[in-house]
Amino acid sequence: MVPLSYYLVLSGILFACGVTGFLIKRNIITIFMSIELMLNGVNLSFVAFAAHWHQLAGQVFVFFVMVVAAAEAAVGLAIIIAVYRTRETLNVDQVNLLKL
């Protein structure tokens, strides 16, 4: 038997790692990966809570999240490609035409 809170903490750690990645990574693709990491964290807590409430809705939710993640991945990578086409860089610090 493992306490529910363990799962939640684990998911929290993953989520936090994702946020950190978003904040500190320079490569756009990596940043995007960190987002995926955050989503994974969320998924874990969904599943955990589902187990806690005996509610399959949670697992279904995870399913949907994955679908969305896939969609986002498709679009997001397309966008990244577009950006790369116009800017020849993947360094987010150099993508700052629009400011002030």
Binding site: F22, L23, V92, D93, V95, N96, K99
Partner: protein, 677 residues
Amino acid sequence: MNPDLKLWLIPILPLAGAAVNGFFGKRSSRQAVSVVGLFFSGAAFAWALGVAFRFSSLDLPYQEYLAHWIRSGSFSADFAFYLDQLSLVMLLVVTAVGFLIHIYSVGYMWDDPGYYRFFSYLNLFMFFMLTLVLANNYLLMFIGWEGVGLASYLLIGFWFTKDSAASAGKKAFIVNRIGDFGFLIGLFLLIQHFGSLTFSQVFEQVKPMSAETAGAGLLTAIGILLMVGACGKSAQIPLYIWLPDAMEGPTPVSALIHAATMVTAGVYMVSRSHVIFERAPGALTVVAVIGTLTAFFAATIGITQTDIKKVLAYSTVSQLGYMFMACGVGAFSAGIFHLMTHAFFKGLLFLAAGSVIHAVGGEQDMRQMGGLRTKLPWTFWTMTAGTLAIAGIPGLAGFFSKDAILWRAYQASWAYWLAGVVTAFITSFYMFRLWFLTFFGEYRGAAATADHGSHAAPGAHGGHGHGGIHESPRVMVIPLAILAILSVIGGYVGVPGSLGGNNRFDHFLGPVFRATLPAESGQTQMGEKGATEQTTEGTEPKEEASKELMFTGISVAAAFLGLGLAWLLYYRSPDLPARIAHGIAGLYGVVSHKYYVDEIYAAVVVRPLVNGSTSILWQGVDRKVIDDTVNRAADGARHVSDEVRHMQSGNLRSYAGWIAAGAAVLVAYMVWLGVAR
């Protein structure tokens, strides 16, 4: 029941004349203009005479209501007229002298391009002056009061291309405004305490009041404030400064407005308000002192002036001082008497001076004149009459009126009397000085032909080209003659008892002034005692009469002394004055610069005001303080905005940082809430 006199016609007629000339004069011929101008002023005079004839049949005071003017709550002021002996006298003087001067002007101004303008202004003046005289409430009087100020503004600045003239007009108006300011405050006090400005209503409420202890109290305040107004209008210290400058105007204007009529409005107003003054000894004292001082100082200045009109101007100021002295000692009838005679002889003097100036081609400096006796016989003789009259040579108008004042002044306080006598001496001195300088000796001016038409009065007669100095046309001479006669015989309506007359003028005005004495005006009111005595001529004790005679003698002596001195200095040894002036250069300088009063005013009032407003208020407060504050606020906003913009560094991770931070704060706050609950 009173007949309907249609008093309102008297002011309205000149107004009509002014309107006609003002609108159509430009396109119509000089003849037409003169006809219009003369007709309407003459008609006013005629109507006034008519009123005078029916006067005895009226029960006085006669009031006439024309229309509402202002109604506000309980307060109201109407177009309504008021006629009693006082206003009748003023009415006759104004219309008569006014009419004469109209006639004179036809000749004097004939060649002036602004001819029609002049007559329209002159008529306008008549309108306002008559309104002032006939008003039955202070506010209507104030209309006339300001109106005559306007007329004089226009007429002084008649030759507006001359900067000095324009400035003089403006100065006159503004100084008058300062006086009117006091007048207004007085009116407010009246409204506040009596709820009305109508003479009858105000005086009805005042009569029961007893004389205030000198110095304090409502009536005193009102009286002093009214006096401030009078000072402005009648050129008394400290507001006399505008009158000398006013001589920039054409001479007829000086005669009519700045000698005969307008400047006396103050005297009229004070005597009209005598009910108030009689109960305010403090105010009376102020009036008397101001009058005396003005009389003396103006006279002294008169000595040193070389401009013929300036001399007359200062003498006017000084004579007005006499009138106020009279009012100040409660001798209102004497004041009015002198007002009348002064209107005659001073008007005469100005017109004569005008005629002289006219003759010598606009020259006004007496040092450039002389020996005109033979060249201008009419002018010479009429002017002589005027001079004698003002100097107080026995038998002429000025003698009686001045004498009456001096006597009553003595009864009030010997100081007034002394000042009066000295002034009388100075007066006769500078008048004869003028007389000698102008008409005796030999002509000192350049050939008069030289500056024909070039002088200020644009071509007073530049039209008919002929050389030499010549007598004025008949249209100018006739008024001179009439006025000369008046100033000779004008005095006989008021021969005092001491000289075996019975002061008819005083009796005539009696009902106005004497009916209203305060309850116990015993010893506080020296002057009034005198007045009561005068009414009972016969019973007057002999020593009083002899004393009065003695004083008369003294003043006569003073007059002749002045004559003698003038003869000595300006006829027998004309080089003496220069040496004397050199001897007392300092004093002479001060006096001849009119005690530097104008300069002092300029330094103390005008310049600080202008500079202060410019540098402190406008540039300082407006620009620096208010505007800059606003602008700085705007700039501040812009700065903040710039800061806000820099949150938008354009860097994705920074944005994420903001969001994360915000989220952290939010989470922290919410969790804290959740725990705290």
